[in-house]
């Protein structure tokens, strides 16, 4: 029990550091691809610390609650992942936080915030089925939703190659990368001002950034357990997926919400059916 609490605390402390460092690499690599020099690697930490110490400007009190709930659920899901809890429970806790994040944006009157929140809902609708399908496919191979049991199967990647591609897609949609950067106008695009983040400002924006880092680490960890025989190789696979996502972000243009839904649903249903059929026929 004490050991598990220790692992929980260590994961909760380490995850934002890793997530912030990775998003720093993201910005540097994006600058490199665009032929720029780019900000320092530690830039996301400077941004978040600065935001934490800015003046608090509130539209309503519910925003504060929803920003904290989003951070709390992200922390809980990463911590539960570290102590190898139930995969389905982790997914549901993660989506509860996102619902608060969206509700907080919907609670303001700004039309930009409203449209951003609607689009974020659509993005959730696009990737939540993929995550659930992933859990189902993992259950089909291992016979359990428990992470400790799942991780006894060393090389899940060989059984679930298509689900791995789906997880890569989830990462792209979750990080709001092109072609799915619909809800928050990443990279100085300002057609929705800042979309869902428009009315979160100062310290609350910082909380949301930290929660985003947790979720980045969570999705990367889900990719990493596909090679749980040697977690170093698993982490390398996850990092490779992350870098491919950054390259895709830089070489694609934004698409519409309708296209995203049609694409992600058809791909996820097709890949899941093919992959589960593959598992059955191999037995």
């Amino acid at each position: 029990m004490i050991k598990e609490i220790g692992i929980f605390v260590v994961a909760v402390i380490l995850a934002p550091l890793i997530g912030g460092f990775l998003s720093g690499i993201d910005r540097k690599l994006t600058a490199f691809i665009q032929g720029r020099y780019g900000p320092p690697i530690w830039q996301p930490f400077y941004d978040v610390i600065k935001l934490l110490y800015k003046q608090r400007l509130l539209v309503n009190d519910f925003q504060v609650f929803s920003a904290y709930m989003y951070l709390l659920s992200a922390i809980l899901s990463v911590g539960l992942f570290a102590i190898k809890a139930d995969l389905l429970m982790i997914l549901f806790i993660m989506s509860v936080g996102l619902v608060f994040y969206i509700a907080g944006a919907l609670s303001t009157k700004s039309p930009y915030s409203q449209v951003g929140a609607q689009r974020e809902l659509m993005q959730m609708l696009a990737y939540e089925p993929m995550l659930i399908f992933f859990a189902i496919a993992v259950y089909n191979v291992t016979g359990s939703f428990n992470l400790a049991q799942i991780m006894t199967h060393g090389k899940l990647l060989l059984d679930l190659p298509l689900m791995f591609i789906l997880l890569g897609l989830v990462l792209t949609i979750k990080l709001k990368k092109s072609p799915f950067d619909l809800s928050a106008s990443e990279h100085a695009h300002q057609e929705l001002v800042r979309g869902i983040l428009t009315d979160y400002s100062g310290p609350y924006l910082a909380l949301i950034h930290i929660a985003d880092w947790y979720e980045l680490v969570l999705i990367l960890a889900m990719i990493a357990i596909l090679w749980s025989q040697n977690l170093v190789i698993g982490a390398l696979i996850a990092l490779a997926t992350f870098f491919v996502d950054i390259v895709i972000d830089n070489i694609t243009a934004r698409m519409t919400v309708k296209w995203m839904l049609a694409f992600s649903w058809s791909i996820s249903i097709l890949f899941t059916i093919v992959n589960i059929a593959y598992i059955y026929f191999r037995r």
């Binding site: 910005r27 600058a31 665009q34 032929g35 720029r36 020099y37 780019g38 900000p39 320092p40 830039q43 930490f45 400077y46 941004d47 610390i49 600065k50 110490y53 800015k54 003046q55 608090r56 400007l57 106008s185 100085a188 300002q190 001002v193 800042r194 983040l197 428009t198 009315d199 400002s201 100062g202 924006l205």
Partner: protein, 155 residues
Amino acid sequence: MGLKEFVEKSFKKSPWVLHYNCSSCNGCDIEILACMTPLYDMERFGMVNVGNPKHADILVVTGTVNHKNKEVLKNIYDQMPEPKVVVAVGVCAATGGIFREAYNVLGGIDKVIPVDVYVPGCPAKPEAIIDGLYKAAEILKEKYEKMGKAEEVLK
């Protein structure tokens, strides 16, 4: 390095820039956009171009103020959270420039909001603008330090 020093350094290293075109002729605006291109790349100083006053630290204003947009400028300035810095880019924003005597022009933007850095030029060069923004980031750090001292006095 303690937490206090790191916070102060963060304010200097991460100024987010909001650009408002206050009836400018677009000359200075093009030069501001040039600062974001690979040639000048203002992101290497951590400067990000944001479109939301609630996220911004530095307000960059180009052009003169007239009776129509003085309320807009004041409104944008009021929406920014403290600490905040204003940079006036180009002679129009600084003094009114060649439009100074026009019947609808109030003059430089310092007639409406307090200005911290003036960047001269018609249009201002991208090098001068980045220089001004860097200066503004240093003023932002100073303002944060002053905010902390004011809070200590109020306690």
